[in-house]
């Protein structure tokens, strides 16, 4: 703890006295006694020093900027094609340098192990033969894809982009809540948020020496280029989008524009001669690396869903022929299955011979009789999540569910225990957030946050400094998804204590 670098906190402006950290949660800026945590005290002072009114003005500017720049997402089900801005809170979430260093190595370790796992599952299957991970967990998973067998991507990389969801428990320890290794999204918000704060609070960014996130796009481009088929020196890279009706379309536009790669839909692509081409006005142009943001099932009508309009017929044959690399590879979903998640610490030991640097949230496999019995006794204390083997049941938050919902859940679990896992409900850490309640005066109040860092795997691993901090804007709620009223904060990884 860098106490020697902490500035005296008796100079804290009075507005901080009005801030009450939530009970039972780890507040990222303040200790329970109300003093600022020394790791990020400069940020805390600067933010609170501005005063709520100024922060509100900055917030209003930010919203205008967001709307103008079109940082929106499409809400499913809204027919007029309404686009909403992903709500943004101007109070940045700071992470000190030593904490980040640990997280970074833990994240790289994790993604290396997950990658090795996917390669193994579609290759020799050693981890299954050795009984570390039950075979049926993989074979029964809705994400297992036989079409991935026999395809050897460059550098053995199946997972090029991973979004690892981290939460901080009541003791302030980071742990992994879940992995996202299929088509993780959210990085465009990270970059846009930073751009905005850079315009609105440039002095603060400079003062605190915040690590840049600008490199992410160059890093992603480099990672993709490193995965080009052998012998291709200047690969053509394209981003495959499902199109403008997809909720993440803004991000697809953003990424392709900033990386200078073509944004393509399935109908722009054709496989000829077992190579991938895009249809340009000057004739077909070869594509060497396809960064795809569509699900496996829609990727290739020959091998997957024949009715898919989003993919390209013959793509898997082109992958077998080594003519194109698809990132992320087919079938990576076996690695972010909720049940498989419970085995990720063992994967790290098995493939890397290391102890996990970042622990995972306790994950109880309800397929195991004793485990199930124990969880069912206290179902109202757990968050129950469906695995890849389930029939599409949703997540149930025990402590928030009604008796009726819990009873129904119990029946469903008994009927299909392999379909579910349970995790204790974590009280997410909180962070001061600008809120206006019931048309009253704005103030800073604690809101729950999580963190989604992004990890890239090309010829070598690269981690975006920080990631997307999602914040639950409604008081007391733990749900941070954009579709359910969440917002985001800029995440500041500090270079050194300041």
């Amino acid at each position: 703890m860098a106490t020697e670098n902490a500035r005296p906190t008796n100079s804290m402006p009075p507005v901080s006295a009005a801030y009450h950290p939530a009970e039972g949660a780890f507040d990222e800026m303040f200790r329970p006694d109300g003093s600022a945590r020394p790791e990020c005290s400069a940020v805390t002072e600067a933010v609170f020093g501005r005063g709520v009114d100024e922060l509100s003005k900055i917030h209003a500017s930010a919203e205008r900027m967001l709307l103008r720049s079109g940082v929106t997402f499409n809400v499913y089900g809204e027919s007029a094609g309404a686009e909403r801005i992903f709500p943004f809170d101007v109070v940045p979430r700071a992470i000190d340098s030593p904490t980040w260093a640990t997280l970074e190595s833990g994240l790289i370790q994790r993604v290396k192990a997950l990658n090795a796992f996917v390669a193994d599952v579609y290759g020799e299957g050693n981890i299954l033969k050795d009984g570390i991970v039950p075979r049926d967990l993989i074979m029964d998973s809705s994400q297992y894809r036989r079409g991935a067998i026999g395809i050897a991507p460059p550098h053995g990389v199946f997972i090029t982009v991973a979004g690892i969801d981290l939460v901080r428990d009541a003791a302030g320890n980071f742990c992994v809540l879940e992995d996202n290794v299929r088509t993780p999204s959210g990085v465009s918000y990270v970059i846009e948020n930073r751009l905005m704060l850079a315009r609105l609070m440039p002095d603060l960014l400079r003062e605190c020496r915040v690590k840049s996130v600008e490199r992410y796009l160059a890093d992603l481009l480099e990672s993709l280029a490193e995965l080009a088929p052998a012998g291709i020196d200047h690969p053509t890279i394209a981003l495959l989008t499902p199109g403008p009706y997809n909720s993440a379309f803004f991000e697809h536009v953003f990424l392709s524009q900033r990386m200078g790669i073509e944004l393509v839909e399935g109908r722009d692509l054709v496989c000829m001669d077992h190579k991938l081409w895009m249809k340009t006005v000057y004739g077909p142009k070869r594509v060497h690396v396809l960064y795809r943001r569509i699900d496996d099932d829609f990727l290739d009508p020959v091998v997957f869903r024949p009715d898919s309009m989003l993919g390209v017929s013959g793509l898997t044959a082109a992958m077998h022929a080594g003519a194109v690399t698809v990132a992320n590879g087919i079938g990576t979903g076996v690695a972010d299955d909720k049940a498989v998640f419970a085995y990720t610490p063992q994967m790290i030991r098995y493939y890397l011979g290391e102890q996990p640097i970042i622990p995972i949230v306790d994950t109880h496999l309800l397929r195991e009789h004793d485990v199930r019995a124990k969880v069912l006794l206290n179902l109202d204390r757990y968050v129950v999540k469906p695995t890849g083997a389930s029939g599409g049941y949703g997540v149930v938050i025990g402590p928030r569910a009604s008796d009726e919902e819990l009873a129904k859940l119990r029946t469903v679990i008994e009927r299909d225990p392999k379909g579910f896992i349970a995790q204790p409900m974590i009280t997410l850490s909180t962070h001061p957030t600008l809120v206006t309640q019931n048309g009253g005066a704005p103030k800073l109040a604690p809101r729950h946050v999580d963190l989604r860092p992004f990890v890239l795997m090309g010829a070598k691993p690269r981690v975006l400094a920080g990631g997307l901090t999602r914040v639950a804007l409604r008081e007391g709620t733990l749900i941070v998804n954009s579709s359910q009223g969440g917002g985001s904060k800029d995440t500041w990884v500090l270079e050194a204590p300041c």
Partner: protein
Amino acid sequence: MTMRFRIRHVTKYDYPEPVYESHNEVRLKPRDSTHQRTIGFRLDVNPPAAIAEYHDAFGNIVHALSIHKPHRELTVMADSLIEHDEIPDIAPPRNPSFAEFLIDDELRAQEEYDFLYPSRYVPFSDQLKRLFWMQHPKPDQPVADYVARIVAWVRDQFAYEPGATNVHSDVNQVLATGAGVCQDFAHLTIGLLRLAGVPARYASGYLAPRGRLRPVGSQASHAWIEVMVPGRGWTGFDPTHGCIATDHHLRIAVGRDYGDVPPLHGVYRGASSVHRMGVTLDISEDGDPGPASTDSGANQQ
């Protein structure tokens, strides 16, 4: 004695309107096994197609075909030269009973997962389970005997009747009609054996005519099964004929069921209606061209 067989397998598709783009996976090149080797193979496609070869999840040989020229006819000709050894009739070193066999369950489930569980054409439906219970094995029964018995039993209980089912029928349809073709006999037997805990997989290939063992009907394209018999390993059985597979059963591919090994499967753009398919098959021993057998019928690609 090692036999040699020459197979010329021609499939022709006719479309009512032109097809202008076609992508297919072809499984017509026989894979090697302990007793069978492919010593020559040629794939000709008209109109000319880009062809690439790879192996699928089951180790079968797949040719990816893609055509970008408008066409109203597609002809795929596979020409194979196969050597097949006589299958030695050696008694296996051990012949465990079910009680002994099922002790090994964990290990077997590990290695043969795909071939112990339901698949698209072999769901473990109530009807199948009822049939299984009528014939279920006793604990002291030797597994090998049971397998042979089931294979013979299916042959006796079900009638060979083209038209009773179609290429997309699963075991439930066969059970309902009480009749089917070799594909259906294979699926049914596989289902019963899997329910007994015995790994069973589908084999596609050809049955070269020999003596009384003629291709039933005019189809020499044939389907049978392979069973993991303790002490013997993967052993071929032919439920359509109620016997063990012979050195005239020339295997192309294996999978969980027909869905994993269709001879030609793909997507195309252009013609929207169902087309006609014709198959011509010549199988000869020692390179002598034999009488051609033809079979045509409407089929989806």
